[in-house]
Point group: C2
Chain length 414, copies 2
């Protein structure tokens, strides 16, 4: 099974777009040089993407004003007309379908790296109620001519079919036609993205020099995603980077997945609260209390044990994946820095390459919207196709057919 561009030239289009994402601001000549392609080719592709509204041209004046004068090196010759991903026109509706909170934000192609949600509401416990809330939220948003709705979803998600296969903390989404529900509210293509995958791409968007890492997110559960060579690693199963459901020796807690002893039962917010409540029966078993408690008294043995178990599994994952960098996001950032430090040290000690001083473990903010847009660009703007026999069909089924022609119609494969 070979993956080839849907149309000759799409491969170059992809790489130009990726390079522009990394450079932020670049002229056609910069892109050509940086990609090793000829100026005319780079220029043609840039023009095409400008035409589509994916890129925008920035006048020199605005660049001058934006960048400090000292920062700018005066170059000889005719100055280039600078390009960047379009930041002005909202093209996508980004959505986080969280266990407790649903959030929405209109997103341009050149999204900013920090999440900024414009509408938030508590996630309902039934599909119908949730769609109703979505309808109300839609009234507060003025988005039109959407290229797509991008949804970050927890659990095990089969992205091509738009189905949630398994979601222990949000059971009603399982085998539900979420794209169909959402298309009742916005008549646009809907794309589901497994949440840790979105977070990993978001981190990559904000740190384009980091080509390979394992992202681990802590929250209602524990999830991971793997970035290899700047892209999500492609796996046969609908989820990878899964480390929440690896058993921890000596742990007897039952997990939502049906097994006993999963890491998730120790280090998820719920798991931590359970340990906290056991250690301090009289304290209020709420997350805020736990956080304040640890800030005041430091990490206690039950927390350190959970961190050690987590670190062992992360270290083993780095070994197997052949990676030297782990990025941690989520609830751990709300605890004192020493807590993360303990985890990071244990990860470095436990991993083979850490013994050679080659492993990093860093904490980072969640960048969900940037990740969603990265997925959208990857799949919508420059689709690829899969050739396994005679027929080449689109690799990404957009979870129901398009009601309206894609803005890229005519540029994708027949």
């Amino acid at each position: 099974m070979v993956v080839v561009p849907a149309k000759m030239g799409h491969l170059n289009k992809r790489s130009l777009l990726a390079r522009l994402q990394r450079l932020g601001l670049a002229s056609r000549a910069d892109l050509a040089k940086s990609l090793g392609m000829s100026q005319p080719t780079a220029g043609k592709i840039a023009d095409e993407l400008l035409q589509l509204g994916v890129l925008e041209e920035v006048e020199i004046g605005r660049v001058e004003r934006a960048a400090p004068a000292a920062n700018r090196v005066p170059r000889l010759g005719r100055p280039g007309r600078m390009l960047r991903l379009d930041r002005t026109r909202p093209r996508f509706l980004g959505m986080q379908l969280g266990v407790s909170l649903t959030t929405l934000a209109p997103l341009p192609v050149g999204a900013e790296s920090n999440d900024r949600w414009t509408v938030k509401f508590a996630t309902a416990v039934t599909a119908d109620k949730w769609v109703g809330d979505l309808q109300k939220a839609a009234a507060e948003l003025t988005v039109q001519d959407l290229w797509g709705v991008l949804v970050s979803v927890p659990g095990i998600v089969d992205e091509p079919s738009g189905r949630v296969l398994f979601s222990p903390n949000l059971h009603w989404t399982e085998n539900m036609d979420l794209p169909g529900l959402i298309r009742r509210v916005w008549n646009a293509p809907v794309m589901l993205v497994q949440e840790e995958r979105a977070l990993a791409l978001g981190h990559r968007y904000a740190n384009p020099e980091e080509d390979d890492f394992l992202l681990v997110d802590f929250g209602d559960g524990v999830g991971g995603a793997v970035i290899l060579g700047g892209a999500l690693s492609a796996n046969p199963l609908p989820i990878s980077g899964e480390l929440g459901h690896t058993p921890v020796l000596g742990n007897e807690r039952p997990c939502g997945c049906g097994a006993v002893g999963c890491l998730e039962t120790l280090i998820s917010t719920r798991g931590l609260l359970q340990s906290f409540a056991t250690a301090h029966p009289r304290a209020n078993p709420a997350w805020a209390t736990l956080v304040r408690f640890i800030h005041e008294r430091g990490a206690e043995p039950w927390l350190l044990a959970a961190l050690d178990a987590t670190a062992a599994i992360i270290a083993g994952s780095l070994n197997v994946l052949g990676l030297r960098r782990a990025i941690v996001t989520g609830s751990l950032a709300e605890l004192p820095p020493a807590v993360f430090r303990h985890l990071a040290d244990a990860v470095i000690r436990g991993s083979l390459w850490g013994r050679f001083g080659q492993v990093e473990c860093a904490i980072a903010p969640r960048r969900r919207t940037a990740g969603l847009v990265a997925v959208a660009i990857d799949r919508l703007v420059v689709p690829m196709t899969e050739v396994n026999g005679h027929a080449a069909k689109p690799r990404v089924s957009m979870a129901g057919h398009f009601e309206r022609p894609s803005p890229f119609a005519g540029h994708s494969s027949p």
Copy 2:
């Protein structure tokens, strides 16, 4: 960083070669249909590869004789001229640099899947002695016009530079210029291949339908390699699929890597022998004794414990990698089938997807030579280049420059 074919058309050449490897025997038309390319294109590439001596044409008569007549469906129309990887002319010298044994075999491009070494000798403990033995062995082999020497090496190997970074069981190879030593004996390009990577590709060669799996090899150590989408997964570190040096809770044995408690100290042949000797102080602590003992009395607790620890780590690896298939090779095959069965059941129970009946764990023979040739085809025959800036330079440094022009000179990038 983008990887592109060194020359337009190499991508197609690669995929045609891969397809022919999978089909075994195919006509130009079969290849064209199977790859979705036009007949003229497939024909041109096939002719080119025939010219280079990579493929051979097989007369119908010989095919008829080889395949049982009943098996062959008489087809209408002109029969195709069947092609396959050249099996007649030895092009490579395959070598296994083992901890205790060094073995050699001349290999054609279309190697058979079972290993068949023609020369074997005990691996010396110094480089000079080893090269001397190699000289003697060379006298027994009549190979000429070699395209390359392919060496399977244990430990942590930086394949591009041809250096062994770390080899706890074969210390003298560390930071030694092995390619240089070997080129004293055979004046040909030398390519080092980390041994589990070779084994994984060899398994893939014999089972072309298995596109994604984790191979775990048991022997003097424990190593793994990951096949994703039919190819070795590309990682930033010189090794991946590493699971021998993941710590096992409660294990206090010191490991050659400097750490304590690595899985390898439990399940490597040496580790098993140590456990065996502890359980049966009076028995002869040799591998053959251990094997006979277990065949007679079945698996004892010390073995079951080591298997359980191994299974947990394999299961965790499958989760993280998003894989559903584990292939086991090596010393475990010499023990009774029940031993492997115990391991396989534990792997399936422990992995997330195993709970959905999606995980397989199978035992297989080592196919080292086939794997070596697969690497050679991938790197030598149709090299790719890496474009990170302006210059595109060969991705694979052949560990010292070519003394003689490659047979593919004129077909690779400038």
